[in-house]
C-alpha cells in the first residue's frame, strides 16, 4: 500500500505523455527535442485552439502551455481546458517569459497547476515536469483510496467520526452519517446522537464515556440505537483519544459501525447451541448449565430448589401410530403447555446472570427438553416440597386436556418425578438421577402422576438399569451376542424328537440374560423385529447342520411377534434364509401367540396364507389363554395348536384343567390340526395328556432348551439309548406305537406340504 503506488507511478512516469503548446516554432522545436531526449513523449501543437481540439479526443499526462500566444493565449486555453470533462485534475504547466507576479497569479487563476519561466536550461523544466506528474499521481492515488475507503465503509455500514473537546463537538463523515440513515448534509450533534439511545443504555454509556475520558483510554462499546425511522439497530463504536502538545486528551477519533446483522447471527448461533430447535425450549446443555447456577445460588443463599423430571406416557405409541410429524407436533404443544406452568425465562444465558443482582437466580427458572419426550422443569427457588408438587400437579392438569395432532384428538399424560436441593441431592447429577427414580416409580405405579423422590424408591428405580440394557441390546445383534437354544418337541409314544422350538437367549458379558428380562424390552423398542429376522436365519442355519449331522428333518419353530406378520417381506425373508442354507421352507415353522394373532387378525391373515402356500407351517402358541373366535379358527391356514402351560400345570389336580385340555384336543382333531402340550414337567402330566389323545409334548420332563451342541449330546445320551425315565411309560405298545403316532400326525395335517 505504501510502496506500490509510488513504484507504479514511476513506471508510468518513464514516458509521460506531454502536450506541448507554443506558437513559436523555435521554442517548440527546442523544448520538444530537449524533453524527448529526457524520455518524454511529446505531442506538439502551435495554438491554444489546436490544443483544446486535441484535448477533447485525447488526454496527456501533462500539458505545457505557452502563456503568450496569438488567438487563445495560455491563460484562456487553460481556462477552457479545465471546463472539459475529466480534465479538472490534469496537470498544466504554464510557460511564461514574464516572471512578473501578475502573470503567475493569472496562471493560477486560469487553473494552471504550476508555472515555469522559459529557460533554455532544460533539466530545470524536466525536473519541474516530473515533480508535477508525481504529485498528480499521488493525488490520484489518494482520491482512489479515499473513494475505496468510502466504499468499504459503506459496505461495512461503517463511518468515521471525530470529537473535539470544547467547541469542536462531534463530527461525522458522510459515511458515518449514512450509518445513521442520514444524508451527507445532515448535522448530527452529540446530544441528538445520545437521544437515539434508550434511556437506560444512554445512562450507562454516559458513565462509560466519562470514565474513558477521565482515563484517556480507548472506547469500544456496542450501543442499541433507535434510528429516526424507528428501526432498532446495534452500533459498535470504537474510538481512540487524541492528545495535544501537553499530553492532554483533546478529542477522540473513531468509527461507528452497524453490527446488528452480526449480533443477530451471533445470537442465533448462541440460541442454536442452547435451545432445542423443535420446541424452542432450553436444551440439555442450557438446562444443565442453569441447574448448575441454580444449585450455586441455593448453596450460597440457603434456599430450596426443585427439579421436576417430566416424561410423557406412551409417547412412543403416538409416534408409531401417527408418525413422527404428528409426534413432533405433539411435542411442540406439550412444550407450550409446560412453559405456561413456570415463570419461563428465555434470556438467562452465559455471562449475563451475575449482573442481574440478588434475585437473578429467578431468571434461571425454565422448562427444558432433555431429549425425546423427556422434559425438566427447573424451579430455582421453592419454599417447600409443596411448592414443587403444586407445579407438578399443574403440569399433570394441563396435560389431561386433549391435544389435536395429525387431525386427531390425542390424550397424553405425563409422569413427573421431583427432587429437591439439598434434601435429595447436592449436585445436578444427583438431582437428575433421583428425579428420574421418582419418575420411574410413577411409571411403575400406573403413570399419570407425580412423586417426590424418597430413598426407598431407589429399589424400584430399575429404569437406569433398563436403559443400559436397552442400549446394550441394540448392540447385541451386531456383536453376535444373541444365541438360539432349542427345546425338543417330543413324540412320547415313539420317544422321538419330531421338532424343536427355538428360544432366544442373550449371552451378555458371558452371562445368560433371562428372556423375560430382554424380550419385553425388545418388543417395546421395536428391536424385536431385527432380532426375529435374525432368528429365522439362524434357525435355517441350524436346520442345515442337523440335517447333515444327525439326519434331523423336522421343523424348527421360531416365535414371531404378530407385528412381524404384518411385514410384507416376511415370506421373502424366510425364502431367502432357507435358500441360503439349502433347506426346504418347511424346515421353519412359525409360532404366534393366540393373543397376538387375534389382536391383529386382519393384518396377519394374508401373511399366513402366503406362508402356508410356500409350505411354512404356523403354530398357535399359548392356545386357550386368548379369546379365539372359533369361526376364524376354522378359516385360518394353521397347522398346530399349542396347549398353554397353565392348563398343563394343573392337569391331574383340577378337573377343570383336564376339561379345557380335552376340549382343545377335540377342537384340534375336528379341525384337522396337530396338537402339542408345552410345559410338561412330570410323568403324571405326560400320562394324562397321552390318555386324552395328545402325543406331542415339550417340557422340562424331556429337556429344557439347550444350546444346539448340547441338544445333540442329549439325543445321543437319552433318546437313542432310550434311557430316560419317561421312555416306556407310554411306549408299552413298542415300535408300532411310534409308527402309529407318526402316521396319526401325518393324517392330522390340515393341508399337505407344498
Amino acid at each position: 500500500m505504501n510502496d506500490s503506488p509510488v513504484s507504479a507511478g514511476d513506471e508510468l512516469l518513464a514516458h509521460p505523455k506531454v502536450l506541448l503548446v507554443d506558437d513559436d516554432e523555435v521554442n517548440l522545436l527546442l523544448t520538444s527535442t530537449a524533453l524527448r531526449e529526457r524520455g518524454f513523449n511529446i505531442t506538439e501543437v502551435q495554438s491554444g485552439e489546436d490544443a483544446i481540439e486535441m484535448l477533447a479526443r485525447w488526454v496527456p499526462d501533462v500539458v505545457v502551455l505557452d502563456a503568450m500566444m496569438p488567438g487563445l493565449d495560455g491563460f484562456e486555453t487553460c481556462r477552457q481546458l479545465r471546463s472539459l470533462p475529466g480534465l479538472g485534475a490534469l496537470p498544466v504547466l504554464m510557460l511564461t517569459g514574464l516572471d512578473d507576479e501578475a502573470s503567475i497569479t493569472r496562471a493560477y487563476e486560469a487553473g494552471a497547476t504550476d508555472f515555469f519561466v522559459k529557460s533554455p536550461q532544460w533539466s530545470l523544466l524536466t525536473g519541474r515536469l516530473r515533480h508535477l506528474l508525481r504529485s498528480s499521481r499521488t493525488r490520484l492515488e489518494l482520491e482512489r483510496s479515499k473513494s475505496k475507503l468510502a466504499r468499504a465503509q459503506d459496505l461495512a455500514r461503517m463511518g468515521s467520526f471525530d470529537w473535539k473537546r470544547g467547541h469542536g463537538g462531534l463530527h461525522f463523515s458522510i459515511e458515518g452519517l449514512r450509518v445513521f440513515g442520514l444524508g451527507p448534509d445532515s448535522v448530527l450533534t452529540l446530544r441528538s446522537t445520545l437521544r437515539m439511545i434508550p434511556p437506560d443504555d444512554r445512562h450507562e454509556l454516559l458513565l462509560v464515556l466519562h470514565e474513558i475520558l477521565r482515563q484517556g483510554s480507548v472506547l469500544a462499546i456496542d450501543v442499541p440505537i433507535t434510528l429516526h425511522d424507528n428501526r432498532h439497530r446495534i452500533f459498535h463504536i470504537e474510538a481512540e483519544p487524541e492528545f495535544n502538545e501537553l499530553g492532554n486528551v483533546c478529542g477522540y477519533t473513531g468509527v461507528v459501525q452497524d453490527v446488528t446483522d452480526r449480533r443477530l447471527a451471533e445470537d442465533k448461533i448462541r440460541h442454536l447451541a442452547n435451545f432445542d430447535t423443535l420446541t424452542g425450549l432450553p436444551n440439555r446443555r442450557q438446562l444443565l448449565w442453569r441447574a448448575e447456577r441454580a444449585v450455586e445460588f441455593s448453596r450460597r443463599i440457603g434456599h430450596l430448589m426443585a427439579m421436576l423430571l417430566i416424561d410423557l406416557d406412551r409417547f412412543k405409541m403416538i409416534n408409531d401410530t401417527l408418525g413422527h410429524a404428528a409426534g413432533d407436533e405433539l411435542l411442540i404443544e406439550v412444550s407450550r403447555r409446560l412453559r405456561s406452568c413456570v415463570r419461563h425465562c428465555d434470556h438467562a444465558m452465559e455471562n449475563s446472570i451475575e449482573a442481574l443482582g440478588s434475585h437473578s437466580h429467578r431468571t434461571l427458572e425454565a422448562v427444558g427438553r432433555l431429549g425425546g419426550d423427556e422434559f425438566v422443569a427447573l424451579l430455582p427457588e421453592v419454599a417447600d416440597e409443596g411448592d414443587a408438587e403444586r407445579v407438578a400437579n399443574r403440569i399433570l392438569e394441563l396435560m389431561r386436556e386433549p391435544i389435536f395432532v395429525g387431525g386427531q384428538e390425542c390424550f397424553v399424560t405425563a409422569s413427573v418425578g421431583i427432587a429437591l436441593y439439598p434434601r435429595d441431592g447436592t449436585s445436578v447429577a444427583d438431582l437428575v438421577r433421583n428425579a428420574d427414580v421418582a419418575m420411574y416409580f410413577v411409571k411403575s405405579e400406573g403413570r399419570n402422576d407425580a412423586a417426590l423422590y424418597h430413598p426407598q424408591l431407589s429399589g424400584v428405580g430399575k429404569r437406569r438399569e433398563s436403559l443400559e440394557l436397552e442400549s446394550a441390546l441394540h448392540k447385541a445383534l451386531e456383536r453376535n451376542e444373541l444365541v438360539l437354544h432349542y427345546q425338543p418337541k417330543i413324540d412320547v409314544r415313539g420317544a422321538r424328537m419330531v421338532g424343536a422350538e427355538a428360544l432366544m437367549r442373550w449371552q451378555r458379558n458371558g452371562v445368560l440374560v433371562a428372556p423375560g428380562d430382554f424380550i419385553p424390552l425388545a418388543e417395546d423398542t421395536g428391536l424385536i423385529i431385527p432380532m426375529s429376522e435374525w432368528a429365522i436365519r439362524e434357525a435355517a442355519r441350524q436346520s442345515r447342520i442337523w440335517r447333515d449331522n444327525i439326519g434331523f428333518t423336522g421343523s424348527i419353530a421360531v416365535n414371531l411377534p404378530s407385528r412381524l406378520f404384518e411385514r410384507i417381506d416376511l415370506v421373502e425373508q424366510i425364502h431367502k434364509a432357507c435358500a441360503l442354507y439349502g433347506v426346504p421352507h418347511n424346515a421353519i415353522e412359525l409360532e404366534i401367540t393366540e393373543t397376538g394373532l387375534m389382536k391383529d387378525l386382519q393384518h396377519v391373515i394374508p401373511s399366513l396364507h402366503r406362508l402356508n402356500e410356500i409350505g411354512v407351517e404356523i403354530s398357535i402358541d399359548d392356545f386357550g389363554t386368548g379369546y379365539s373366535s372359533l369361526a376364524y379358527l376354522t378359516m385360518l391356514p394353521i397347522s398346530e395348536l399349542k396347549i398353554d402351560r397353565s392348563f398343563v400345570r394343573d392337569l391331574g389336580m383340577t378337573p377343570q384343567s383336564s376339561a379345557v385340555v380335552t376340549a382343545i384336543i377335540a377342537l384340534a382333531r375336528s379341525l384337522g390340526l396337530r396338537v402339542i402340550a408345552e410345559g410338561v414337567e412330570n410323568l403324571r402330566q405326560m400320562d394324562v395328556l397321552h390318555r386324552l389323545g395328545c402325543g406331542l409334548m415339550q417340557g422340562f420332563l424331556f429337556s429344557k432348551a439347550l444350546p444346539p451342541d448340547d441338544l445333540e449330546i442329549w439325543l445321543q445320551k437319552t433318546i437313542l439309548p432310550r434311557k430316560a425315565a419317561w421312555i416306556g411309560e407310554v411306549g408299552s405298545g413298542g415300535v408300532t406305537g411310534e409308527e402309529a403316532s407318526v402316521s396319526e400326525w401325518r393324517a392330522a395335517r390340515a393341508k399337505p406340504l407344498a
Partner: protein, 146 residues
Amino acid sequence: MLNERLPHPRDSQPPSERPEGGAAEAPTADVLDHEALQRLRALDPTGSNHVMERVVKAFETSVGKLLPQLQSAMDAADVVSIRHVAHTLKSSSASIGAMKLSKMCVEIEAMILRGQDEGMGEKVAALAAEVPIVLVALQRMIDNNP
C-alpha cells in the same frame, strides 16, 4: 538606452552571465553566444538528429513570418502586435544564442509595457537590421560545424 534597460535585467536572463555591454560591441563573429550554442549542441551531441540545422531553419521561418508582421504592425501602430513579435522573438533568439537581438526585443517589450512610444521607430528598425546579421552568423556557424 542603457538606463532604460537596467530596471529589467532579469528579462534577459540567459546572457546575464556575460558583461552586458560586451554583446553590443562584439564583432559579427561574436553575434552568437557561445554558451547558448553549447547548450543547443548538447541536445544533439553527435549531430545525427540535425537539431542545429532544424533550429536555424525554424528560426529563419519564424523571422520570415515575424518581420512582415512587425512591419505591418508598425504601419498600423498596433502595439499589441508589436509586443507579441518582440516577445516571441525575444525567447527564440535567446534560445539560439542571439543575445543582442534578444535584448533588443526585451527593450521593445519593456517600452510597450511602460507605454513609451518615443524612440520606438528606431528600436524596431535596429531590430530589423540585426536579424540578417544573426541569420548570416547562424549560417556561418552551421557551415563551420557540420
